[in-house]
Symmetry: C2
Subunit: 196 residues, 2 copies
Amino acid sequence: MILEAANAEFLEKGYDGTTTASIAARAKVTHAMLHYYFQTKENLFEMFVQKKMALVKEAICPPARTATPGNLAEQVRYIVSHHMDFLFSHPELPKFMLREICFNRDSLAMFAAVAHQDGNIMDVAAGLKKAAEKEGLSIGFDIRTIIIEIALFNISAFISTDIRRSCFGESEEAAAAMIENRKTENTERILKMLGK
Amino acid sequence: MILEAANAEFLEKGYDGTTTASIAARAKVTHAMLHYYFQTKENLFEMFVQKKMALVKEAICPPARTATPGNLAEQVRYIVSHHMDFLFSHPELPKFMLREICFNRDSLAMFAAVAHQDGNIMDVAAGLKKAAEKEGLSIGFDIRTIIIEIALFNISAFISTDIRRSCFGESEEAAAAMIENRKTENTERILKMLGK
DNA sequence: AAATAGTTTAACAATTTAGTTAACAAAAGT
DNA sequence: ACTTTTGTTAACTAAATTGTTAAACTATTT
């Protein structure tokens, strides 16, 4: 399938490094076919980015829970844990996000727009603030910072395992254990940032 | 100067996004001149990478001190602080490193090679281990992990300020204050990882 | 079976890009 | 003075890349 091939190529080589011909070859179609269905390379790339952006959103927003959100520590732990698990099952996401941030192409603005326009992410942030204030903590900064920090701390953990595997051949199990451990560490650190 | 132009172009647009013509235009020479002096684009890119790699090394290795290294906490604080200051005065480095990691082109292997081959980085790691053991702590993992973690935590702080500035226009002063604060937070977290 | 709509291919055009070349100019050496 | 080396330019080549097109092929509908 062309979209899957495009996905893989863009992830591996970025926009500039990918050619419509290489996508077509990977999808085992002629590149004329690719243009017949998707017209332009940019078009394909936009679809690719849109899909990943949707995943990014999903990663940050924990699924609605029937149970009450619980206290601040529980909420943070839940968000961190959910995000980690999500990254674990979508290992290409950190790479994608960092690449987009690095290459800009207004990606930061795009992230911001997605985050702002979308109620869910703002709700998550607001929910954290409310829970914190309920416990008598006063948040002296933009609460959205916390979302950014959670994302970055968690992503760092995955980048770290990547590097360790690549540099001194760490095992899958050790990596998984470390990720699990990071859930707790990152939760604690976020709570500390919230004044807890 | 051609090398400066190449540096700026590669940082902004990456290898694939940069053309020899755009470098030449930026340096205000004909692109024939560029090829006369540097032969190939890859050649220029390699010089670019080499320079950045040297900076990366310099960033990790604190300058030799005349005074004794001090206890574990002081050592970690010193390394973290030095690294942060270095990143602060080389704001393009985090972007470069992340991009290289993302785009691979064997960059991870290159990082590993640089880190291994170079005595200084290994010395820093070994120094930490020795200091930790002197204080009765047993390090149950590869000590190089700590170097990676320091680098990633610190880089994260700069990425975070980038995002905050871009997304909700945080001021320079707030960013600088946050970076300063992160020196302490990151130091504490690294110490905790070392069992302290 | 004929018409029609959708799919596929091969060949092609236009542009971009890395790198070359030949001619020329300016220094530097002899 | 003249010869060699070095720097510079404009024009060029060859390959790659995006996108098109016309014709052929296939499936579906009528």
